[in-house]
């Protein structure tokens, strides 16, 4: 079955430190991959997406993600976090083609320490 795994339920990072959130997928073929952020009282916002081509993808708010086929991973990174980055982060995948919806991971809750 298709699945997306985010191994870390909570991550605590000091403000100004670097961040990496892990995401692994299990699909028959390379799916389309996405990272979303969800802040309290707000809808899910797309940070970045990978369809094909360059495996390092740049997104909004200074985030980037790297697709690694050999590891079935799509980890999200940011060189220096800000207090406003505290939120829930979701990795999602979608099979290439067709009308099927996104499969989301369970999310990683990011806490920023001052």
């Amino acid at each position: 079955a298709q699945s997306v795994t985010q191994p870390d339920i909570h991550i605590t990072v000091s403000e100004g430190a670097s961040l990496e959130l892990r995401c692994n997928y299990s699909y028959g073929a390379t799916p389309y991959l996405f990272w979303y952020v969800q802040s309290p009282g707000q809808g899910l916002q797309l940070l970045l997406k990978y369809f094909s081509g360059d495996t390092l993808v740049q997104g909004i708010k200074g985030f980037e993600a790297e697709f690694k086929r050999s590891q079935s991973s799509f980890n999200l990174r940011k060189p220096s976090v800000h207090w406003s980055d505290a939120a829930e982060y979701f990795c999602a995948a979608r099979g290439g083609g067709g009308a099927d919806g996104l499969t989301f991971g369970k999310g990683t809750h990011l806490i920023i320490q001052p």
Partner: protein
């Protein structure tokens, strides 16, 4: 409006009652999706509309759940004989295109359903 609008933002109902949740997508978006997000979980796909038709309803948990989009714009998710396990945030998303050309999905803030 500029974004995806969902009403009500909060709904409290009693077990066994009927509930309707409404989604108003971004104008011109042909694809519309419903997801359900339970506490501590990621969103789970329920149903996808391309225009007026349900192109993929494989995520609906059982026949108590039904959704319509009669004019290809506003959609209503209908839940009959609600159960406590239906308590969740119901998210709606829309995109300009669907299927293989799916671009970014724009999500609403969700409707929080609590079944007592």
């Amino acid at each position: 409006g500029a974004g995806v609008s969902q009403t009500p933002s909060n709904k409290v109902t009693e077990k066994g009652k009927y509930v309707e949740l409404r989604c108003d997508p971004i104008s011109g978006h042909t694809a519309l999706y419903w997801y359900r997000q339970s506490l501590g979980q990621g969103p789970e796909f329920l149903i996808y509309f391309q225009g007026t038709g349900a192109a993929d309803d494989s995520g609906l948990p059982n026949d108590r759940f039904f959704a319509v989009r009669p004019e290809g714009s506003v959609s209503t998710l209908k839940i009959q004989r609600t159960e406590r396990g239906d308590s969740a945030v119901y998210l709606c998303a829309s995109s300009l295109f669907g299927g293989a050309n799916t671009g970014e999905l724009f999500f609403g803030e969700g409707s929080r359903l609590t079944v007592l």
